[in-house]
Amino acid sequence: MTDHIAWVALAIFIFFFALVTVMGFVAARWKSGPVNEHLDEWGLGGRQFGTWITWFLVGGDFYTAYTVIAVPALVYAVGAYGFFALPYTIIVYPFVFAVMPLLWKKAHAAGHVTAADVVQGAYGSRSLELAVALTGIVATMPYIALQLIGMEVVIKAMGLSGELPIVAAFVILALYTYSSGLRAPALIAFVKDIMIYIVVLTAVVVVPTKLGGYAAVFAAANDAFTAKGGATGLTLKPGQYLPYATLALGSALAAFMYPHTLTGVFASKSADTIRKNAILLPAYTVLLGLIALLGYMAHAAHIKVASPNDVVPMLFKELFPEWFAGFAFSAIAIGALVPAAVMSIGAANLFTRNVWKSYVNPDISHAGEAAVAKITSLVVKVGALAFILFLPTQFALDLQLLGGLWIVQTLPALVFGLFTNWFRGGGLLLGWAVGIGWGTWTAWHNGLKPLASISLGDASYSFYVGFGALLLNIVVAVLATIVIGLMSPAKRGAAVGS
């Protein structure tokens, strides 16, 4: 990557960054409510977002900047296998449609702000509540750090070196999130998503015309993979079927267990808002699939990079005029701000409701909750920044992988109670602990790879660790619930089924 500064690109970048900064601060007055007086206002934007705002917000925080960098990078490196992001972001929506409106209703009726609130309401178990809350907070931190990596990549592509730009960008983000809460990313998401749509739709039309059409793009990628060998190619090797399917399914089940996606669910106006979004959000999946193809376009454009993460910035620098590259980089950087803001808000809500309120100050006022959450969002962001500045990048990537397998372990506790009140809190807690324990241990022993293998007879099957851990979690939760039921047949008086 060249070291000279791309001034035109940088000027455009600074313009858009300034624009969203102003929007971030102004957002406090948008659809205004008393931002400082109630956590519902700061942390959920007043629980009033309708279909379109929710579409932009959830689209903006689910399809993150890091996705725009990392998915094409993986597709560039290994081919078809990297495409699991596409089935993943398709099958997530039937799940959202079936589950999230029920979750919204329960949260809305009881005034719950977080997943852990819902779990506490269903099972009356402080320990299960804490387990869900801590899992959410810990899984979110490296995810925020990844957004910073996404931003770092494009800032570097513009020729800026050093850590000052990223620190400056993050301080500004932290300040307007502090002052406006969820309204800031919701408003900025409009800009971010429209910019990303323009960039990607332009790229997928213009780039193939420059490179000789899609057939040529796929052929070039095929040649590159043939030369490279190994488990790469335009289609999957037989041994990759199960990893591909379990990664897609496991990731889809994990996606809406994260605090940032759930915040989008809880902030919406009605259950119907969520249903309509399950129908409309797949539009972003088309976009993601097209983004993934940028990895193949890079092969056709003969781009060679030291780190696959530089594939997308290099492609834009090579094939587009500098002003458009600057626009694209701005889109990606702003694409990092929206999820980073929502993630820090989701984590702050969890800490406030399920750690601070439950263990430190149970009598906290609504205004007090908002104040604690605002401070926490700053702490969370500083933590993520420190992560990137002081620890190796690989550490954030590894933790993000573990975060995915951790967060999906909260699914039984959060989701099963929406459909049945058969499960016991103690059983779900044990399932959670076994899922986290086995999953972490297995991933660790496999050198922090997402796949584990089991041998049945002569054959060996590889699958996504997080998915395997979830199955184990469910089995343990069922068995433990049966045992607990035998030991103490009378259910405790938790507000089940309310």
Partner: protein, 61 residues
């Protein structure tokens, strides 16, 4: 009708069903356009279920 929601899982998670290069469409190998095709199909299926369900009592439709 709710069973329709299972179709995308079947269609996308049974990989041997679509792990081919041919027939390609507009330069896209089958593996790619088949998975892309599931995006609008999934939206449509969810919409069908949405239409058929009993609305919430507080919904205006």
């Amino acid at each position: 009708m709710w069973m329709l929601l299972l179709l995308p899982f079947v269609g996308l998670l049974w990989v041997p069903f679509y792990n081919f290069v041919e027939p390609s469409l507009l330069g896209f190998p089958f593996f790619y356009w088949y998975q892309f095709a599931w995006v609008p199909i999934t939206s449509l299926l969810i919409w069908l279920v949405y239409r058929s369900r009993t609305p919430d009592s507080d919904e205006t439709r």
